[in-house]
Every structure is written in C-alpha cells, then in structure tokens.
C-alpha cells in the first residue's frame, strides 16, 4: 500500500520546518496520515481505566518505509486488524498514555533518531506522555508540528471532496427534518435530537446543534418551545470519517415578518456575493474584503458578523481569511462562509454554507434550504 497523502509535499514541509520525524497523535492527523484509520472503539471516547487512549503515527522525513504506528494490543491483534499502509505497527500492552509514549520512544530509538528534531502536537499531548518522551529521548529536540500538518492537509483530494459533498448534503437534509417538527410545538431540545437522528440515519457522526428560536439569542438546545410567529436557526455540525460538515439554515413558524425576511435576504446577499468572487487565484484577503463590503451594503453591518474560514478535519483550518491575507485560493480548498445578523425583536438570523474551490469558481456542498425558510406551518 502507498501513503495516501502527498509524500513529496510532506518532505518539503518537514525540510522547511527542520523536522526529522513527525510524531502525530490527534484523531485528525492520525486519520489523514493513515488514510482514514482510527481505532473505532476509541473514536468517540478516549478515557478508559486510569488513563486514555493515545495512538501515535511516526513518519521519518523522506523515508515512509520506516514509518511506524503505535496501537493498543487489542487494536493490533488478529481480532482487529489494522489495514493501513504503515509498515511497522507496534503495540502497547499497557493501555495508558505513558505506555504509548514509551513504545513510541523505543520505535524512534530503533530508527537511530535519538537526536532528531521531532514534530509533536503540543496542545494535544498529555503532560505525562510528554514527560515520558523527554525522559526516553533526552537528546531529542521537540518542536510544534501544527503548521506542517495543517499545510499538508489544505488541498483536498477528489475522494476527500466527495466525502464533504456527501456530508454537507446529509447535514442540510437533517436540518430540514428538524424544521418539519415546527407545527408540533416542540422544544428546541426535541428539534436538536431530531437533527441528531437525521444525521445518524444519513451516516454522519453528530457533533452539535445550535437552535436559536426568536427573538431570544440563546442558541443552546433547551426547554424553550419554538412558537408560532418565531424564527429558528438550526446550525448543525457533524462529521464523516473525520471530515466536518457545518451548516446553518433558517426556519419560521408561519410567514416571517417583512423585517425577518429582509434580514434573511441580507445574509444571503453577503454569502452569494462572496461565493461569486471565489475562484482559484483570488487572494483570501480580497474575498474577505468583498464579504465585509457586502455586509456593509445591507445596512445591517452593525448587528451582523461575516466570518469565513477553511474547514476540513478541523473545524477551522487553512486557508485563513483576513484583510491582509495574500494567499490565493486553490482548487481543492474547502471553505465555510457564515453571516449572521442578531436583531433584538426578530432573533438570531444566520446562514452558513460550505463550498469547494473548483476550476473557475466554487461548488456548494449542501446548499439545500439555504434560500428558503423551513417550516412556515
């Protein structure tokens, strides 16, 4: 089996960062580097016994034949084969973080990399695992690998975009299922659970849902009933194979007031105008300015927020958008665009889309329901 990611790109990035060995341990980077693998038993809960599950993937610069993976005994045994490209799977008998770090250090020593510069993910590294790595590899130099791995993941391959397409559509459909409960006078908690069920039914892992029923700005699912005459936003996130979907759509019990409709159209205006400008070669800063200017045009800039960011295996990742960002969009980037207007008498109006940058423009990933109001009774 071949590594699924761009090995030359990783080598270049490691060279630039002065990293000899990537030692990845977050779910998103383990999945990315292995090509989708993560131990299913520990996908959604890490704590077990006195410690937690901590896997590692080690990739020496320029030599994927010496890559290694640290797994649990129960994970790597014949009962649960690990079928990825990584040539050397070493397992820990002990289940904890310290045992895993010790095995990783041994694999690094076996490769003669005791004095290497090792790229780790510090914010995610448990303190005791870090202590063990330092103790076992006293001459190694530890640096942050965040930028290297984030840059590696930035351009999505066609098979990754296909997952985003599917996940975005499933998310958008699940949201519409939530709106359909409107006539039953249900709580936002009940709507949240319906959206969750809708996602699971469509093969998504449910992550969260915000449900702001007007005119309150409270977004957390609660005992609040979505009443006639009120608007509701459903802002829901989930994932498939670690790839994130995050979409917000609007609903209204009965016909929305002219002002609510105007706010909705204002959000749409901002997103449509920004999306129309997105294509390979355009600088992220330019896109950001177009979005901000579009929000100004609506006349609601004071109560509105326009936000735009890359999305992938991490909720907010590269590319980043701000006034000065010169990096150009490229085919295969995935971008999330959100615009909200918080208006006291009306509520929290918001639309959030995801798009893939393609040749000549961008493709909406899950556009269902974006330009209409759900429910209406």
């Amino acid at each position: 089996m071949e590594p699924p990611y761009d090995t030359n790109k990783l080598n270049r990035l490691m060279d630039k960062a002065g990293i000899d060995l990537i030692l990845a341990h977050t779910p998103h980077n383990i999945r990315y580097l292995t090509g989708g693998y993560y131990f299913h038993f520990r996908e959604r809960i890490t704590a077990i016994g006195p410690s937690q599950y901590l896997p590692f993937v080690g990739i020496p610069k320029g030599d994927t034949t010496r890559a290694f993976q640290v797994a649990w005994l129960v994970e790597a045994c014949p009962y649960n084969k690990i079928e990825d490209w990584i040539p050397d799977i070493v397992h820990t008998k002990a289940r904890g973080t310290v045992g895993a770090a010790q095995i990783a250090a041994k694999a690094i020593r076996n490769r003669g990399l005791t004095k290497a510069t090792i790229g780790i993910e510090r914010a995610f590294m448990p303190a005791d695992a870090m202590d063990m790595l330092r103790k076992e590899l006293p001459e190694a130099h530890f640096v942050e690998s965040f930028n290297t791995l984030e840059e590696l993941r930035i351009i999505k391959r066609p098979n990754e975009i296909e997952i985003f397409r599917r996940a975005g559509q499933a998310d958008a459909e699940a949201i519409q299922e939530g709106f359909l409960l409107g006539p039953k006078d249900v709580t936002t908690e009940r709507i949240a659970r319906t959206v969750e069920g809708g996602m699971v039914k469509r093969g998504l892992h449910f992550h969260y849902v915000f449900t702001a029923a007007g005119p309150s700005m409270r977004r957390d699912p609660s005992e609040k009933i979505w009443k006639p005459g009120e608007i509701l936003h459903i802002d829901a996130g989930g994932s498939q194979m670690g790839y994130m979907a995050d979409i917000c759509r609007m609903g209204s019990r009965g016909k929305p007031s002219p002002l609510a409709d105007e706010l909705h159209k204002a959000c749409l205006h901002v997103l449509n105008k920004t999306r129309a400008a997105m294509e390979p070669g355009v600088a992220c800063g330019t896109i950001y300015r177009i979005g901000q200017a579009a929000l100004e045009e609506t006349g609601y800039a004071e109560s509105g927020i326009f936000d735009i960011h890359g999305i992938g295996m991490v909720q907010q990742e590269l590319p980043r958008f701000n006034l000065d960002e010169e990096r150009p969009l490229e085919s295969g980037m995935i971008v999330s665009l959100e615009n909200d207007i918080r208006y006291p008498e009306i509520g929290f109006v918001k639309i959030e889309d995801a798009v893939a940058i393609v040749k000549g423009g961008c493709e909406g990933l899950g556009d269902l329901g974006r330009d209409i109001w759900g429910c209406l009774d």
Partner: protein, 380 residues
C-alpha cells in the same frame, strides 16, 4: 445552589491525599462536579482552529463556595440555562480561540487570588495538555502538583439513585437496540451495515452511540467490516453508548439458524459463569474473592481454554472503581455499578461473549439491561 456531589466525602479524600485544590480537565470529572454540565458544542470533538477546547475546573478543599470554572464565552448561555452551581465563571478566550495555555493562565490567576499558589494541586496528568501543564508550572512555581485520579475515582465510586436511574435506562436502551438489530437488520448485511443499523437504534433511544464490536462467524474480526453475517453463523454485538457521559456496555449473541451443539455449550458456559458471579455479588463481598470465584466458575465449565473472564467497575469511565483482581481487598458497597464479561474465542465456533452491567443493591445485585441474555437470539 448546592454542589451535587458529596462535599464532605471530597474534602475527606482531599485531606487524605494532601490536596488543597482539585484542578480538573476531563469531560467526565467536569460533568461530575458540575452535576451533568459540559459545553455541548465540544462534547464530541475538541480540536478548534490551532488548538483545543480546554476547560479547567477548580475546587478548593473545604471551600466549594470558592470553586471556579475556566471556559469560553460561548458557553455562558448554557451555564445560565442549566443553573450551574459553580460560583465563578472565567472566560479564557475573549479575543482568541480556546487553547490550553490561556485556560491555564486564567486558572493560575484564580488560584493566586485564592491564596493557593503554594498549595498542593491535584491534576489529571494523563489528560491535561503538556502546554497547559508548562504554563501552570511557570505561573505557580511554588505549587506542588499531584495526581487527581484516585480522589476523583473514589468520589464517584458509589452512584446516587439518580445516577443509577440513568444507568438503568441506558443499559436497557443498549440491550433493546442490540435485540432490535439482531431481529430486523436486513439479511446478508455486512457487519459494517449492522453497526450502522445499531447506531441508529441507539440514537433513536436517546443514546450517544460510542462503539460496537461485531464478530460474525469464526473470523474473530471484531471491527465492523465488509464481512457478511452469513446463514449458520454466530454474531456478537458488543455495543457501548452513553448519555451525559454515563456509559453502557452490553454484549449479546445472535445466530442465523440453529446454534451448533458446541457453540451452544460455550454460550451456556459463559452464562453459567456470569450467573454464578452475579449470585455472589452483594455488599461486603471482597473484589479479589469475586475475581477468583469467577475464574474458578469459568474453569469448571470446561470451556475456558480460549476464554477470558473480566470484571470491572463502570460509570462515567469504563473500567473505574471498584477494581477486581488479585490483591484487590476492597469490599463492595450498595450503589456500585459493575460490568461482568465472559468470552470464549473458539477457532471453529467463533467469538462467543456475554457482558452484563449490574448495580450492587442492599442484599445482592440488580441486572440493568438483561434483555436477550438468557439465550441466543435466533433469526433466519
């Protein structure tokens, strides 16, 4: 508002451990101390932008009125909605995304404000981020850090009636979902399809699906895969889920067609072992004795050659107190919740397993989701 846990017990445990302050970062312990609260947005994923959601909860010994909670601005609405008892909320992320360093800085400030900068602080070393730990050590150079796990595990060991209600309900829902799946999953489904069917059943019953091991036939492959559950084959569904992070973990057996005599003998051996151990569970029973007794009962069935007998506490963490094994001299108390598992990995017959959850009662134990355990679930 009053703290939902036993404050006297926590104070005593902290006294014994020499801890002046608990500084907690795990989802299970934050939930326990807060009475169920965790910011719902980050319940099921934690990575955000360049870092990770990193709440910290501080409880000084003997002074729950000086407890503090370091979180992010976005969670204030939910905290108010749930009327959380923690008196001080500290926003760690005003102009930045959540990250462990800024949480640790804010927590250090709160610790100094309480005059505990030279105190002994109990933290969860297996979970706290190395960057948060570095920051705490830098900001609190005179503090001493010890491990929080023994104190927190002991605090949680006896479940309250409300906790038992949750565990009863979710274990029941787990068992029902497994039966529904055996009976209604389309014929000739792959174990991956079976896993997804079960996930939907659990979700519909209000559980967060966590995992399922699906071992069909004699493959021994427990991860969901492209393997079809064929006619004549056994299937074990060993499924875990949670509600508010309380865990359920149940394993039941199904077979397409009639089980073979040997497979049936193995099943009965597992069941007999489980039944004998359950009959011996009551307040005052010694954990090491139960472990020994279970292993002996299993050997007596004559089927233990390819098998395992495991018994462990379960609650907000899988494999928590009480612990069982040689030398574990603690005695059971009413309100403890225990998972019991017996399996046989037979080369020809397959991976046969039963896993139950029981609560220790006044004079014995209560099965918390026994549907489908007495016999195979037989389908066409």
């Amino acid at each position: 508002m009053q703290p939902p846990y036993d404050t006297v017990k926590l104070d005593n445990l902290m006294e014994d451990a020499g801890a002046d302050l608990m500084l907690l970062c795990t989802r299970h312990n934050i939930r326990y101390i807060c009475g169920g609260y965790y910011y719902h947005f980050y319940e099921r994923f934690t990575a955000m932008e360049k870092s990770v959601y990193s709440p910290l909860l501080g409880v000084p010994k003997g002074q729950s009125e000086k407890a503090f909670h370091v979180g992010i601005a976005g969670e204030v609405g939910q905290i108010e909605e749930q009327s959380m008892w923690i008196p001080e909320f500290i926003n760690s992320a005003t102009n930045v995304r959540p990250n462990p360093t800024s949480s640790a800085e804010k927590a250090s400030g709160a610790i100094k404000a309480r005059g505990l900068e030279k105190g002994t602080i109990a933290i969860e070393h297996d979970f706290i981020s190395s960057t948060a730990m570095n920051c705490l050590k830098k900001e609190l150079p005179a503090a001493k850090f010890i491990e929080a796990l023994p104190v927190m595990e002991e605090l949680r060991a006896i479940k309250t009636p409300q906790e038992l209600d949750i565990m009863r309900r979710i274990t029941q829902a787990d068992s029902e979902s497994i039966q529904e799946t055996f009976r209604n999953v389309p014929k000739n489904s792959t174990t991956r399809e079976i896993a997804r069917f079960l996930e939907r059943e659990m979700t519909n019953r209000g559980l967060l699906f966590l995992w399922v091991f699906t071992c069909a036939g004699n493959t021994m492959l427990r991860a969901p895969s492209e393997k079809v559950w064929e006619k004549g084959e056994v299937l074990h569904l060993d499924a875990g889920g949670s509600d508010g992070d309380y865990l359920t973990d149940v394993c039941r057996m199904g077979v397409r067609g009639v089980p073979k005599p040997l497979a049936d003998d193995i099943y009965k051996a597992c069941l007999t072992t489980q039944d004998k151990v359950r009959a011996a569970i009551k307040p005052g029973a010694v954990c090491s004795d139960l472990y020994e007794y279970g292993n002996k009962a299993f050997v007596e069935t004559g089927q233990s050659e390819h098998g395992n007998f495991i018994i462990h506490g379960v609650g907000l963490v899988s494999h928590e107190q009480p612990r069982f094994g040689p030398g574990m001299e603690r005695t059971l108390k009413e309100g403890m919740v225990i998972s019991i598992e017996t399996d046989v990995r037979h080369p020809e017959e397959g991976y046969i397993k039963i896993e139950d959850t029981v609560a220790v009662t006044e004079d014995g134990c209560e099965g918390m989701g026994d549907i489908g355990r007495a016999t195979w679930t037989i389908v066409d």
